[in-house]
Symmetry: D2
Subunit: 342 residues, 4 copies
């Protein structure tokens, strides 16, 4: 912790700050600058309470934390990449994972037809929403348990693993019965009751970045899950909210590279929600591979114009096939680079 005092801070104010730091159990180092005094506090343990206490004290200009507030998810804590095993894949390791499927599970025919195509075209994990977070109470809210059962049927028919969203701590156990990966939506990234519940199950979790969450906050939410006992967290960049309206969200693709410096957890990209527009999904997917993401989460629908949700951003099965073909040379370079790491 570094505390910089105001230009005209008095001797008493400075001494009170030092005293407060000592009360919290830290050691004090004072630097007398030409213009102002800067105080360093050294010690172990979470500094948040001390930091918040100091911020409002008289004479304090600014109090900053130096160490990252997360531990288990930090690259400093564990330097090699985490590999999360799902359905024979090593996500975060040597395998690039493509998770594809419709926004919502709508019917048996829809999910079976999609699953068959995803499996045939190289996908390994089927996505599909049974519980749907919708902005409007009047929009389709998902088939719920019925949807979960259809996903299981598709899994049995194709051998694909299943990723699907859970929206409440109440439903975690239920969804975990059906899903191979539990998906947490952007709007729930800081639903702390839900995060704690996820720490108590064994299933891997895909945690989406909130629409206005910093990477630090994303890692803090991952830390909630890991600290509660579940180390298998996959992070997902799905676009952030900015002033630009030409796309649904602004995909922060650089975040993938930054996260790989900050954490050992795998990072995948959702180009469908990031753009909101079908034609932009293939170029963004290529860029996600090139920037070093560990996988993609893509919306695919046999008939997007008739989808009950997110039709405009879903690829048709034909478009998905073309995209997978175009991705192939990029995936080759990706694999060589990943192999060269070891």
């Amino acid at each position: 912790m570094i505390i910089s005092m105001k230009l005209h801070a008095t001797r008493e104010e400075i001494e009170a700050v030092c005293e407060r730091i000592r009360e919290f159990g830290y050691k004090v180092h004072t630097i007398q600058g030409e213009e102002r005094v800067v105080i360093g506090a050294v010690g172990v343990g979470d500094v948040t309470p001390c930091l918040e206490s100091l911020q409002g004290m008289p004479g304090v200009e600014n109090a900053m934390r130096i160490s990252a507030p997360y531990k288990f998810v930090s690259r400093e804590f564990k330097s090699e990449r985490s590999r999360i095993k799902v359905n024979g894949l090593e996500i975060g390791g040597a395998d690039f994972v493509v998770m594809a499927g419709p926004c919502s599970v709508e019917s048996e025919q829809q999910i079976m037809q999609t699953a068959e195509a995803v499996a045939r075209l190289g996908g390994r994990i089927l996505r599909g929403g049974a519980f749907k977070p919708r902005t409007s109470p009047y929009d389709f809210q998902g088939l719920e348990v019925e949807g979960l059962k259809l996903l299981r049927k598709a899994k049995e028919a194709t051998g694909l693993a299943i990723i699907t969203e859970v929206m409440s701590d109440r439903d975690v156990d239920l969804v975990a019965e059906y899903a191979d990966i539990l998906q947490i939506g952007a709007r729930n990234m800081q639903n702390f009751a839900l995060l704690k519940a996820l720490g108590r199950v064994k299933r891997p979790v895909l945690l989406k970045r909130g629409m206005s969450s910093t990477l630090r906050e994303l890692l803090m939410s991952a830390e909630y899950i890991v600290a509660a006992g579940n180390p298998n967290v996959i992070l997902c960049e799905r676009g952030i909210r900015t002033f630009e309206t030409a796309t649904r969200n602004t995909c922060d693709l650089t975040a993938v590279a930054v996260l790989h410096e900050m954490t050992h957890l795998p990072v995948v990209v959702d180009p469908s929600h990031a753009t909101g527009k079908r034609s932009l999904v293939p170029p963004l997917s290529r860029a996600a591979v090139a920037v070093g993401a560990d996988g993609l989460l893509v919306e695919v629908h046999p008939c997007p114009d008739k989808a009950v949700s997110d039709g405009a951003q879903s690829l048709t099965l034909e478009q998905f096939a073309t995209m997978m073909q175009d991705l192939a040379p990029y995936l080759n370079i990706w694999k060589q680079a990943r192999a060269a790491e070891k």
Copy 2:
């Protein structure tokens, strides 16, 4: 709904769009411009599914909704202000409400001392967190049920009503036993499982705007609660996230005036979270009164420097007293203006 076609859209593409609109049960009006065709769709009911279906169709440039997607909370639905009765006050009506108290309930002494001062200085509702949403799993998470019991004790001693946060649909019934108003935090504004549960209780709800939520989304979340059976919703502006880092958030004070045009629900302002800094709370509170807000939600603590959370933005009891005094002439103008409305 208005659909504008691309400049070079073919006759077939235009016809397909018209056909799709008719399938959804709407009537079609085509406008042939000098450059492009624009199609209007007229009818009743939620247009979202039709809109999403059209957005991805070939030849479509853009598909826009014209009517607001919310109903019950709209000012067009109900033109007079909603008045929510709590503890003898008419929030949204003739009474300006001051809700004050600590970020977290910490101890009996802390909450009793604060409650006594709030009651004495003109506050009518005591705030205090028992369940705390914290960015870090290592931060203080609240006294939970113990905290609720201390709030009840403070209520009995002072006659203040209680507002406190609920974080999970699991806890709604429990918290409703103790609280006069249920508070929903910014991070849970789109926790739809929670919103639905709030529709089933009788208690008024204070719904905070999400850090990156538009006013339209805020109203959609309020609509969830109202549509599920609970009309007593108070909206709260608490600052949004922008690029500026000089304050913790950017308080969108104009939103109060905009919301009053869009909805009949009351709107209060939280100057403490909006600024993150004690010295900025009084000027922002004055501005909130002047812009026409229905109330304030302010953090006050007997000893902010020793608070377990949000100390830097909490007023001392003395500062709160001074602020209430300075607000008095503004509240007089407010009351005259509100009385003149009728």
Copy 3:
């Protein structure tokens, strides 16, 4: 300057950083924490070059500046408010200033009619654009010199002082012949060639905050003008760009209070550009007075629906009259507070 080293920074990396700091002429203070090393650099003069040099060095986690990078405009440099004298007013002192008028000067009749009303209703400064920054090359670009001459005519007829925009360093001398205050638009806040030219004239300058500029950057731009020789700078909050689209911009009203802590320069608010909507101008103006602004810059037009620019946000003369009347009790409180300061 504080430099925090990475967790596993080597002894050599730390030593290289210390050596670099010494090369730039600063003294080194090293703090050995439990986890990492933090280095303080102490000395005088602008630290930017040293900071930038250190940021990329091996083993460096982060290098932060402690002292503000501006000097002359800082409240630490000069603690009492700056008062800028225009037309008998002390802007920043005991007088609240209302500057009003049309977005663009359009015709003699329009500007004379407006000026007469502004003068009669209590405004002291007439605004009106002769050189117009327009997003589109096909929009009206202003009457240029002809507009300046009309402003002079209005000044002679009413005794109002004139504020008008200058867009290029080429035009500074020309505009300074006609204007009492030179206005710099948000899009030119970091037009450094223009800022330097403004430092060489005697006229007061009203500097608008850029749409995505931090307060620190706004002050740095003011510092350009002051450092070049012109101390008479008025700052203007006119709304920043955020994700919210319900208003044209998001007015950061708290910025007024923050700026008053950071600088001695006066701060005015432009509620017209901040909201983009006529009905929101009066409530936001009241809030601006209450938060402690030094003045308002308001768009007023005798017939806004026929204005060539910004009609939707301009008040009619009648609306302006009503607003001025409603502001009166707030201005009384403002004046008492300002008088009590001394």
Copy 4:
């Protein structure tokens, strides 16, 4: 133009709007919906004045433009890609262009050494700032004419073309004597005096997107230059300002794909300013190639730690060599895709 009326708009209000539209020379089409009236206005020419006039009229809910406000730069105006010839390259056509060099020209040795390396490693255009836009008046402002002369010397020695920034309409002719491409910085994207001056020279212009500019505004600024007579405009994505502070800016890489749908102009990416951090430049550069950008603008310095500006984001010559090598397989795929287009 589409005007949607309020729910309770009166017959008189609707008729007044129709009348106003006809005054502006457009035809009126009225759609009577179940809930409200929507009015379409059809005709040719710029609708901005009419739109602004309507927005504030009584009974109007919203007035929206349907056609894009730009013409010459639109893909609808010219469907094939523009190719801009510089130094034997076809930017926007079959050639991917790498422009590299230091942020600032500092000395003969520095620029010659960099130029030699850029030329040897496959760059074709040398970047280097002689006029520098700096946030602080106390930072290095560039060598100005002396810097331009050093760039010419480097050009003569290596055969590289030169790109360098121009900051004022005053300097356009001077810089055009030395530069093969005139660079416009993000802070000047809406310096309209400068844009108009650029329309009058023959040199290609590289126009950087403003920090908070929408793609539509970027295209409007390009339209200024093209409409004034200079069709050779290259657009540049360099990161936008968002709430995230982990990177200097947020690179909106999807914007490249969106711009390619909206316009025929070439689009390059500046990964150095977008990230602000050296280690992120290579992954982002790979992603820029994969997303389909027409080129890169990269900061390279023989000794970044001693650079007078932007050292933290500059690559060393060795790092640039490695990056160019790693980019090679991506550039092969890029060239095949571009060739397949024809």
